[in-house]
Symmetry: C2
């Protein structure tokens, strides 16, 4: 049984030292340069007292410094706890204490936030890190070692730390390559946060594949459209909201080298996918989560149009089943070597989440006769109205197909008669009345699925990875006095 | 720790049922069709009494039937003992008894050979195998299970059965993809025997990658040149002797889709590599063996010309070291998840072969300052003359650079004065005298390396995978009364 692989970055720098590894704001670093940087940073961190087996918090922006420190921690054998920079001081502190972090490493822009943290750990600014001294790194990575920890947003209860092993990242990367293919000149655009699995996994693939990453501090649709038209990237990871913005500002076509728009972060509205098909944008819908170290189900190239709206089939090393009768909807269960070994310090949650090696995602979906997964919704967001199941994503997709609606979010709110009813929050790009939208929905959806309430917002509440924060919509509903 | 992956063929047939899996003599089978065939054959084999955990001998030609039966055995969980069809009855019997084979499955063309075998096992002709009945296959392959057994030619002593696990084949395939890349339209030409790891591994990659195999009953340089010029394949596995024949009959250029001439089977003469460079043939030199489930060291694309003659660097999941001072020659040691778990029933040989997870290849080489491996020779072929090491491959390369020499083999023969001296066997394409060749060598090699004897043969003795059989050259030397 294989228990280890060669130290990734060292091996990559040895095998293909001169290939580009990282592009950022007009600069480029080779794998050899990246490795040298990582060793220097590892040396500096070691001098600060960090050692193998430690856990440390990481509060970083999408910059080369973040890439160096992520790799430096892997060289040291330290588990990185990726902190979401939008968290409050209390939330940050909670995660650092839950992981018993030895230190928090932070980008200087977060200095003030770190100073506010009232905990017992070292505070190390990334600005202070560089050492000319040598560092003797590990020859191998043990596949069972914890490489990274990321807290899931958790709609209820405290967030849980998802432990991702080197093996999880390895199998995720190779599983993705077996589906998407792998070309020496591939370049993956990273506009998603490195503290989310969507961004972190791009770095891991780069080192394992020997292909480059083009890193962006933030997502700007005009800049990305320019890059993709110029041929500056072959693959990009996006969520629906980002794709909508790209489409809205896109004139002309992407460069022929651009080969994959990897669309994650939940079910996408059909009109958006159809618009992409029209513009010949190769959209690969995908389904994954922090617990699966990114993608686990992706729509294979040959079905990207005929199975529009499906998340596809499992990656080659993975399996999928629905906890229900064949072809009916139920909870999605997944299995594979990319699935987390469990939540940190959460024995009870782990017992609930895992059954005979299968992980219960909590999401609802069904598998059609040909084995394609259709994700309906997050179970926790399910609206039950008069005994009927209402899936917010379905209602949102309907709303988004109206030309005046540019974004939409639907949540369940309490109702005396029906238990719950759907409430819709929309962002519009031209004036439209609630009555018009109501009629529009009634033409497209069963009566019980149509929103009872309509609200207009300037912007929907979304987290750093653009996932809709439905809880905040519920708060908004309360604030407005129940409509 | 990951212990299993989904049943490969089932998963592949589920993920991409309509992609071509196998081309043979103008016919094509999809993965879905291949899976159906394998299940029918598995069902038929089960009815003949074969069961999980059994070992069975396989005596097959390169035909679709061989592909079906190889996959059928994997579906059953039966280990396949791949028999070389050039073996004598005694040699076959020895391997079947060494593995305690429950049966020997044979292609009808080998019926007579099988009838001659005097052993206690079932004899099942592939002509008799097909069953319309269903078969309930395994959902998963355990990575530690023995998938195949192949006997190494073994220059001394009895041949040893190399046990290859599903994990060995898996990591070999993914390691190769991380080096060579992976494209949906890839098609690997298989003209090497399926009973050798070079051929068998092509089948495994096909299923794991979702790409096709174009199978040939035998190697015919004219037919292959036609195929490669037409764009019928993107990758082919060859050894030097095959590549020479391809080059000699090649007019014009290969199709631009042809992207990899994977050249294994021992060090290649430099003139051959230079001729390929001239014709823009993308040669990837590689080093591997039955014990490493095919390639373990391959020259990466960007160095194919600047490091001509090197076997390259290890595949990403693998490591390499030389048992000697840095940059000096010594035994090649390798480590990686594609390396065999050991020889069947050979505890002593296994203790000798493995040290702390490193496998001693018995081959001699050195690694240059940049980490590139240069394979000098098989240790067992080493000629020691007057205390100096003489590597046959080096002498052969010198001989092959003479325009009149089309093939060359060099062995050590006993000598009273020097202990051993090199003896050369050549195949010529126009008349050339021994004196001319001797002078030619003396101009290129240190005196002690120059052959003492020169013999002309119509053809050199090679095995089915075109590897030179040096022992037969030694016999030839004896027969000729020592020159």
């Amino acid at each position: 049984m294989t228990k280890s692989v060669p130290n990734w970055l060292k091996q990559r720098a040895f095998l293909t030292p001169e290939r580009p590894a990282l592009h950022f704001e007009g600069n480029v670093w080779t794998f050899s340069e990246l490795y040298e940087k990582a060793l220097r940073w590892a040396s500096a961190l070691e001098k600060q007292g960090l050692k193998e087996g430690d856990r440390v918090g990481l509060l970083v922006q999408n910059t080369p410094n973040a890439v160096y420190v992520i790799h430096a921690l892997q060289q040291l054998g330290v588990s990185a706890v990726l902190l979401n920079s939008r968290l409050t001081a209390n939330e940050l502190l909670w995660q650092l204490e839950d992981t018993a972090a030895a230190a928090v490493l932070y980008d200087p822009v977060y200095q003030k936030a770190v100073e506010e943290l009232n905990g017992h750990f070292f505070r190390i600014s990334l600005a202070s890190l560089s050492s000319p001294e040598g560092f003797s790194c590990r020859e191998e990575f043990l596949l069972d070692d914890i490489c990274s920890i990321m807290y899931t947003s958790g709609t209820t209860g405290n967030p849980k730390g998802v432990q991702q092993t080197y093996g999880n990242h390895w199998w995720s990367a190779t599983g993705s390559a077996l589906n998407l293919g792998l070309q020496e000149k591939d370049c993956w655009l990273c506009t998603v946060p490195l503290f989310h699995i969507s961004g972190y996994s791009i770095l891991m693939r780069s080192v394992i594949y020997g292909t480059s990453v083009r890193l962006y501090k933030r997502f700007d649709e005009k800049e990305i459209n320019k890059a993709l038209k110029r041929g500056d990237g072959t693959i990009i990871s996006v969520v629906s909201a980002m794709l909508s913005r790209l489409l809205a500002s896109l004139e002309g076509k992407y460069h022929p080298h651009f080969r994959c728009m990897l669309l994650g972060g939940g079910p996408a509205p059909k009109p958006l996918l159809e618009a992409c098909a029209e513009k010949q944008i190769p959209v690969f819908q995908t389904y994954g989560m922090t617990e699966t170290a990114s993608q686990i189900v992706t729509l294979p190239p040959e079905y990207s149009l005929t199975k529009l709206g499906s998340a596809g089939k499992p990656l080659f090393p993975c399996q999928l089943k629905i906890d229900a009768e064949p072809h009916s909807e139920g909870e999605i269960l997944v299995k594979g070597p990319n699935v987390t070994i469990g939540y940190l310090h959460r024995e009870k949650a782990n017992r609930t989440a895992f059954t005979n090696g299968w992980f219960r995602t909590g999401d609802i979906g069904y598998v059609d006769e040909e084995g394609f997964l259709f994700v309906l919704d997050r179970r926790s967001d399910l609206i039950i109205s008069g005994g009927e199941n209402v899936y917010p994503a379905e209602v949102e997709a309907a709303l988004l197909s109206h030309p005046a609606v540019s974004d939409a979010g639907v949540v369940g709110v309490a109702d005396e008669k029906w238990g719950q009813v759907p409430a819709a929050f929309v962002v519009v790009n031209k004036p439209v009345g609630a009555a018009v939208l109501r009629q529009f929905c009634e033409e497209r959806l069963a009566k019980y699925k149509c929103p009872y309430y309509f609200f207009q917002l300037d912007e929907l509440p979304r987290n750093a990875s653009k996932k809709l924060l439905r809880r905040e919509l519920k708060n908004e509903f309360e604030k407005r006095g129940g409509g």
